[in-house]
Every structure is written in structure tokens, then in C-alpha cells.
Symmetry: C2
Subunit: 233 residues, 2 copies
């Protein structure tokens, strides 16, 4: 019933370049898998079973640093693929994937993916483009971590969550992350993150109600991100 051919999510990914034939072969893909919040999809050092296609929910790709903090390298969500890098290069995964919310995913077996990569030029080209895009983002991320302040990076993160996951009907960010997870994205201590967040609240950029966050002044946050805060003409 849950056939790949009919899956809307596929349209957003490189999988759209697969032929009907190829899709038929991906037998495992016919049913999607339900993942509970907190569940681990794969861990650093493993060889993944294949590429995951995300139908719903949010997953964090993390890396544990020597000081014990969990750095979130990327969030993946509806319409994203997961695990391509490792399948493409044949290496172990270098990041751990953990569900941030309940998820619905499909596993596309490694062998099928590799066969399609070898035989379907358009597919491999699309996958390559996605990896290149990831690389660009990763480089930007490195520069931001190295050069921006925590406040700037928090503004970035909030804007990213806003643009990527949108808001609920009341305007609150749809992505529900704990403060600890936010700190993991920003790359700072949880206490520092909380302080910055309430700082931004006091300055009127946002409101927080428990775990929910409402962005009020988007252009202002963009200025903070660019380091143009408090710059009068």
C-alpha cells in the first residue's frame, strides 16, 4: 500500500530520479518504519544498512565531543535523505542519528542504492548535488562556529528553525527542541544558551512559553546574525 512510486516525499529528494523499475526492486521500502522520539537510527562507527528517506519527524545528526557535550551537526526532516555520505564513500558513518520527534522513515537498502548509483546517471548526479550542497553548508557552519559569537549563532539557529520547520498556528516554532538540544546546535553550554535566549526575550526579539518559542522580530534577528546589532546609521 505504501509504495514508493506514490510517495509524495520522494519528489523532494534525489530519489525522484529513480525509474519505476528501480523503485519496484526496493522491496524493503514498501512499508515505512515508525521511529520513536529518542530512538537511535545509527551510531558513529557503524556501517549503515542503507539510505533512509524521511517521511515525517525530525532527526538530529550529532557528534559527541571530548568534553562530553553533544554537538548537533545537522537536522534532517521530511524530504531529506540520511546516510548517503557513508553509502557513497563506503566508510563508516561519522555521526550519530537520533530521532528528535517521532518519525516515519523508509529504508532503501544499500545494494539497491549502489546499483542505482552505478546505472542511473541522473540519480547519481542528483545525489552528488545533494552531497555538494551539504559540503557547502558544512563549510559555512565551520566558519560561523569559528567566527561568530554565541548570540549570533543563536540568532542563526532560530532563523534556521523558523525557515526550515515553520511555525504552528499560534506562530510558535514547529520544531520542538530542548534547551540542551538548542545549545548543541549553537555550540555552547546549556546555561549560556538559556541566558542568551532570555536575553533576546528581554530585548523583544522573541517570546518563550515553556518549551515553545515565538519569534517576534525576524529582521532584528537577521541583523544580529550579521553582527549589525546596535549599529546606528
Amino acid at each position: 500500500m505504501n509504495r514508493c512510486e506514490q510517495c509524495i516525499v520522494r519528489q523532494f529528494t534525489a530519489l525522484n530520479a529513480l525509474t519505476k523499475d528501480e523503485l519496484m526492486r526496493m522491496a524493503v521500502c514498501r512499508t515505512s518504519e515508525n521511529i520513536k522520539k529518542g530512538q537511535i537510527l545509527f551510531e558513529e562507527g557503524e556501517h549503515p544498512k542503507g539510505v533512509y528517506c524521511i517521511k515525517s519527524g525530525i532527526c538530529k545528526l550529532t557528534k559527541l565531543s571530548a568534553n562530553g557535550r553533544e554537538q548537533i551537526v545537522k537536522l534532517v526532516t521530511r524530504g531529506d535523505l540520511l546516510g548517503q555520505r557513508s553509502i557513497l564513500s563506503g566508510e563508516k558513518v561519522n555521526l550519530t542519528a537520533i530521532a528528535v520527534s517521532d518519525m516515519e522513515i523508509c529504508l532503501l537498502p544499500k545494494e539497491d542504492i549502489l546499483r542505482s548509483l552505478a546505472n542511473n546517471r541522473e540519480f547519481s548526479s542528483e545525489v552528488m548535488k545533494e552531497v555538494c550542497h551539504d559540503l557547502k553548508n558544512a563549510n559555512n557552519s565551520t566558519v560561523n562556529m569559528a567566527q561568530k559569537t554565541v548570540k549570533q549563532r543563536l540568532a542563526d539557529t532560530l532563523l534556521y528553525l523558523y525557515k526550515t520547520f515553520g511555525t504552528d498556528k499560534h506562530g510558535f516554532l514547529s520544531a520542538q527542541l530542548t534547551r540542551e538540544e538548542l545549545a548543541g546546535m549553537v555550540g555552547t553550554a546549556t546555561e549560556s544558551l538559556i541566558r542568551m535566549l532570555s536575553g533576546l526575550m528581554k530585548e523583544g526579539y522573541l517570546k518563550t512559553g515553556g518549551k515553545k518559542i515565538l519569534l517576534i522580530n525576524i529582521p532584528g534577528l537577521e541583523k544580529i546574525s550579521d553582527g549589525q546589532e546596535n549599529v546606528s546609521s
Copy 2:
């Protein structure tokens, strides 16, 4: 005279997967180009003319941050390719490439690369692996920037320079970077970098003679990098 087929450097790169025929076509490649220290190969926002193959010298890939500091994202050297990401994805380059030393490079025209990517499965697979490798490194780099101290990152950088470029006959690091460039790699202010460096010198990890750096205690630097400094059993 300087034909690709005979080029030793090619062996180290994905270009090794190109056929004799393909190499013959890359007319521009027949002669290598000499680049002077400080010269710009391409700048952020441009569309590159092709992929560069580096025969000798060192080039920095940098990004200017809002606060005016130049962050070095990657160094490329003999046997590396330059500009693949942009050619593969068809996007503008997102980094600026500047020669750190005099260089010898070959330009492989965009059209030829794209043709080979489409027609030569092994070549495209090799290129893909290199991009995947870059992505892995970039992710690690992001985590390091976010979670490690300046001292740890400096240790990382020194070890990287040691392992990648080696030393001259006297044991000094072969890669000659200015303090400002080192700071750009570590992601800190030049003054901070200088202080850290002389700190490491006082602690006996290294010696500096002007621009030259001699690493004395490699295992010690590795401990610093892992954050195990001053941890007595």
C-alpha cells in the same frame, strides 16, 4: 611536454580514473600554470573555469567573516583537486582560493570534466568519494570549532600541518604560514594565536624561530588536542 598522461600528481587524484582519450582532450591541461604567492585563483561568488589540479605549492580556501577576519576552511596542496564542488553542483564557489606559496597548477576545463563525469563511471565515483571525504572533514571541523578551546584547535592545526606537509631537514614544519594565517586556521584572533603559540613553547611542546616552527612533543600535542592535558592518572 607537460602531458597529463605522464603527470605523477594525477595518480593521487580522481583524475587517475580518466582514460587516455579523455586526458588527450583536455588541451588546456598540457601546460601547467605558475601562480605567485598571494595570487587569487578564484573568489567567492564566481563561477570557476574548471577544476584545478595542484602540482606543487599550497593554496588556502578562505571565507571572510562579518567581523573582517579571514577563516581558512581548508588547505590544498600537491595531489589535490580544487573547485570540484562548484563544478559538480553547478553553483558559484563559496570559498576564495589564494596561493599561500608559489604554485604550479593545471586547469582542467569545466566542459571536459563534466563530460567525463557523465561518461566515465569510475571517475565520477572517485570524485564523489573525494567530496564525501571533504564533507566528513568539514563536519569534524565544525564540531571542533564549536567544542574545542583555542589551545586544542592550535594543537590540531600544528599536528595537521606536520602530518600533511611534513618537515624540512632540520625538523621545522614545511608549511610556512604567517601567524595571521595560522590564526585563520585555528579560528581566533592573531594576538591570541601568538600568545598560545609562545605558551606552548614555554611548556616545551615546540620551538619557534621566526616564522619557522619545530614540533618537539608530538604525543603531548595529541593529548592537548584530545583535552587530556594535565590529567594525572
